[in-house]
Amino acid sequence: MELSTFVVAVLLTSVGAGTVGAVLGLGGGILLVPILTIFYGVDMHYAMGASIISVIATSGGAAAAYVKTGLSNVRIGLFLVMATIAGALTGALLAGVVPVRWLELILGLALSYSAFATLQQINLELPRELPDDWLAMRLGLEGVYYDRRLDQEVKYRATRIGRGFGAMYAAGVLSGLLGIGSGAFKVLAMDHFMRLPMKVSTATSNFMIGITAAASAGIYFTRGDIHPLIAAPVAIGVLLGAYLGSVVMVRLRNATVRKVFLPVVVYLALSMILRSLGVRLF
């Protein structure tokens, strides 16, 4: 492949990854890394470096719009991101000490359960009223956003903060140990445990993944994993795609976002279980 063809192909792929990432609250690495390595023959390290760029570009392209309109909850995001970064630092320290295969199996089973739980509330548009959580009250983990699709203001308050915070810490540890993105776990924790509206979950995850990725960006950069000729089309494509995705997402129903999200959880669950058995999907 000519380099110019490669750059254009990666750019177009990245527009798609950015759009999907912006809607689902993921960094797009789950799409980009396999495509770059399998179809474009990019080395795994450069693909991971491109993935970090993609995560931060998704945040730059989409979170700006989400934060401005209140769909990303900055307070909830900053509060939870403490847990994720602390977890990622723990994970980095534990690397090589913990048996990875068991972790992958446990994670795969936990994700299978999450997929099942997501399926059970697949058509739920807005969370039902739940008992107040004292921590959420104290920390003001609540908000209002104007839902374009429902044409109404939606008020929400997070619940089961302890479990959500714990899940975020665990997600950080696992992503640090297993080298996988944690966007999907962030969305699941906010959707399941904390009972936030689905769109608030993915938009807040979008805000958070940029910060979490920034924590490891330095390592990728100094290691030489960020190749300008690969990272440049990824950055431009994802910025554009994420902007497009943010325009689309505000017009979708919460239930629709969840339906698009479910296959991602199923894929992650399967790939983790297979990895624990020694089979890598990519």
């Binding site: 309109t69 609540e142 940029g210 100094t222 000729l229 440049a232 950055a235």
Partner: protein, 147 residues
């Protein structure tokens, strides 16, 4: 679209809008400016014949030997600055500068949130944003140590 007033309803965060608007602006401009540098560098590289000169050399994108990273890859701010001050200018250094700015944008968003929360009278969240920024700096230092 409703203005900021919707965020200040009873029981809602009383100080929401200004902090959120500021963070949104930082994220937006960070993304735009870094995206422009990345695009400018790539365009200059293509204009200089870089892209067509490298026909069928894609295999070199594969990871080379551990110690010698290819000249296209920048691993420190110093290298980026050297590339920028070199004459003729290294177009990929412009791209790398854009990428570094992009990588720094989220931390910048957290950093500006601290004084914004303080101004809004929300010391608790100023502290939380401070903790997040401190952890980001710790992980950056760890990255430097690894290198």
């Amino acid at each position: 679209m409703r203005g900021g007033s919707g965020l200040d309803g009873p029981g809602g965060p009383a100080t929401g809008t200004s902090v959120e608007a500021l963070i949104a602006r930082v994220l937006l401009w960070g993304g735009l400016v870094s995206g422009l540098f990345v695009l400018l560098g790539l365009t200059l590289y293509a204009a200089g014949g870089g892209v067509s000169a490298r026909v069928l050399e894609l295999h070199r994108l594969g990871r080379p030997e551990r110690l010698a990273h290819p000249p296209d890859v920048f691993v420190s701010l110093g290298e980026v600055l050297r590339g920028l001050s070199a004459r003729p200018l290294d177009p990929l250094a412009v791209t790398a500068l854009g990428l570094v700015l992009l990588l720094m944008t989220p931390a910048l968003g957290v950093a500006v949130a601290i004084p914004a929360f303080v101004r809004a009278g929300d010391r608790r969240y100023a502290a939380i944003a401070g903790i997040v920024l401190a952890m980001l700096l710790v992980s950056l230092l760890l990255a430097g140590g690894v290198a």
